[in-house]
């Protein structure tokens, strides 16, 4: 039976690994592990909920409802942003001013929505 979980000092180095079924945690390549001590996961640094007003039609043109939230930090490298509305649809989109961390969320539907956003840093 394969060793699936390793915790502790292994050959002088700390190891905390869990392997996928069929892989030995001591020797599996990274893609054979569900977790390992050198992992660099995507970690959300900011998340929240915000109400976004309904979009409207004015003079035959769509006018997006929009709201701006402050993420509390600027960004030198673009973060990854996951954004969904309360119906779990991607009917909202956003732009981020990386200099001041202002995230503006747009709603093109004719009803107000609650948006949830996660901001992930890749490092």
């Amino acid at each position: 039976m394969a060793d699936r979980v390793v915790v502790g000092d292994v050959g002088g180095g700390f190891m905390l690994r869990v392997s996928k079924p069929g892989y030995n945690a001591y020797s599996a390549p990274p893609e054979g592990l569900t977790f390992h001590e050198n992992m660099r996961p995507l970690v959300p640094v900011v998340s929240g909920y915000v109400g976004v007003p309904a979009g409207s039609i004015s003079g035959g043109n769509l006018v997006s409802g929009q709201v701006t939230v402050s993420l509390g930090m600027g960004f030198s490298f673009p973060p990854k942003v996951l954004i969904r509305n309360s119906a779990n649809r991607i009917s909202v989109q956003a732009t981020l001013n990386m200099d001041n961390g202002q995230l503006t969320i747009f709603n093109d539907t004719p009803a107000p929505v609650t948006a949830r956003y996660f901001v992930f840093m890749p490092f």
């Binding site: 699936r4 979980v5 893609e31 977790f35 995507l42 989109q93 956003a94 732009t95 890749p122």
Partner: protein, 146 residues
């Protein structure tokens, strides 16, 4: 005191499990903070590169290409990736979720992103010839695509 950490057999599989504060890891009522039954997205490489803009005024289209120009340490298999773009016309703006959002001069007609070995091939084109410059931003994971 609530048990929050379990190393060993749980939920039918060996692993490491951590519950949220106040939640019993042996009988959780909320999503676990760490659940090694599932893969965690594991970052391998990330980067940022300027697109080369090519305006074709006769067909009112602007092309942006970066064929094979961006490379990363090879993994030996096709990895998962994420990408977005930054619109540079009016400052340091990033757009979500589609990667390209250009409410002013035009809209995106086509977008392709492909990994071949350890090189990234990208292209997209946009209607209009007064479109801004873009930076292309990507994250490549150790997780397999297939």
């Amino acid at each position: 005191m609530t048990n929050r950490l379990r190393i060993g057999h749980l939920f039918g599989q060996p692993g490491v499990y951590i519950s949220q504060p106040g939640d019993d890891v042996n009988n959780p009522t909320q999503a676990l903070a760490l659940d090694t039954r599932y893969e965690t997205m594991d970052i391998h490489h990330y980067g940022r590169r300027r697109y080369n803009k090519e305006v074709i005024s006769s067909i009112n289209t602007t092309f942006y290409t970066s064929f094979g120009a961006e490379q990363f340490p090879a993994l030996g298999y096709e990895p998962m990736f994420m990408f977005t773009t930054i619109r540079l016309a009016s400052g340091n703006w990033a757009s979500y979720p589609l990667g390209i959002y250009n409410p002013g001069p035009g809209f995106t007609q086509n977008f392709e992103f492909e990994i071949r070995g350890n090189a990234i091939w990208t292209t997209f084109d946009m209607l209009g010839t007064s479109t801004p410059d873009y930076d292309f931003v990507y994250v490549i994971f150790r997780n397999r695509l297939v």
